[in-house]
């Protein structure tokens, strides 16, 4: 069950409009290495995990990713708030404006709609952890590219926070890898012993 808390995990207070930056940041909303993909990836994987640690961690990181989706929404909203059609045109975003105006739609900066093709879950729990490790690294690298695109402290602070979270998540999934590999070994040994009787 999810309950919503009326606060951002980390404050987002943007003083200046920047439509081009908002467009770039869209990738972390509806793009391949974004927070929405992460949330759905982990909240789906959690269901079939073999250990309680795995279910717990995937559940909790998945939940935190939803909080990060919200931060990305806040950034985009504030960076485009009250933008005029002329401003959208000047930023080359008249295509987006034509359909969505100032509303946000889960897509990439190039307008590709969000897809579960970004979520490469399989049935094997250990393979899924490697997928998660890769996803966290890709998200980290994407945040670094976004940080290369701005000098504004108001934007840098929340993006840096989100980037640092990816590093923590990587570490936690790495620790889970050990737990699951051990679990797999123990299961295999037990089965072998049974057959010996």
């Amino acid at each position: 069950m999810w309950v919503y808390e009326k606060k951002l995990q980390f404050p987002v207070n943007v003083r200046k409009k920047d439509l081009k930056m908002a467009n770039a940041i869209f990738t972390q909303f509806g793009g391949p290495n974004g927070e929405l993909a992460a949330a759905l990836r982990y909240l789906s994987q959690r269901v079939n995990m073999p250990t309680s640690k795995a279910k717990g961690l995937l559940n909790d990181i998945g939940t935190e990713e939803l909080a990060h989706v919200e931060m990305i929404q806040a950034l985009i909203y504030q960076l485009t708030k009250d933008a005029t059609p002329q401003e959208y045109k000047d930023a080359g975003l008249q295509g987006y404006y034509g359909i969505w105006d100032g509303s946000i739609f889960p897509s990439s900066p190039l307008g590709e709609p969000f897809t579960t093709a970004y979520i490469n879950n399989v049935g094997d729990p250990i393979a899924n952890i490697y997928e998660n490790l890769a996803a966290e690294e890709k998200a980290r690298s994407t945040y670094e590219h976004l940080l290369n695109l701005t000098n504004e402290p108001d934007i840098i602070k929340p993006l840096s926070f989100l980037r640092q979270r990816e590093i923590i998540h990587f570490q936690r999934f790495g620790e889970l890898l050990d737990d699951l590999q051990l679990h797999k070994e123990m299961k295999t040994q037990f089965v072998v012993r049974k057959d010996d009787k």
Binding site: V3, K7, L8, Q9, P11, V14, R15, K53, E64, H169
Partner: protein
């Protein structure tokens, strides 16, 4: 002393403590036997509960769905002068 805190300052303290709770939660998920981490989590939890109650009594509920204190004269959750979290503090 805490009663003197503005909405902004109280929210800031809640965000700081809440973040620690999330960090410790994730750490405990992979280190469930770590009693030091558990002890720190309990400390953060008790501080948070105090601050959240204070916040919701003064400024309106932080959570819905039965999780937060609410006053009895208006459903503050949807008050028109309420800023939702994505709207930020600053005027653009």
């Amino acid at each position: 002393m805490d009663n003197m805190l503005s909405k902004h300052d109280l929210m800031q303290k809640i965000q700081e403590l809440s973040f620690c709770a999330v960090e410790l939660n994730l750490f405990l998920d992979t280190h469930p036997n770590n009693t030091q981490a558990l002890r720190d989590y309990s400390y953060v939890l008790s501080e948070l509960q105090k601050l959240k109650l204070l916040y919701s009594q003064k400024y309106g509920p932080l959570l819905g769905f039965g999780e937060s204190y609410v006053g009895s004269d208006y459903w503050q959750w949807v008050a028109e002068d309420e800023k939702w979290p994505w709207e930020g503090d600053m005027k653009i």
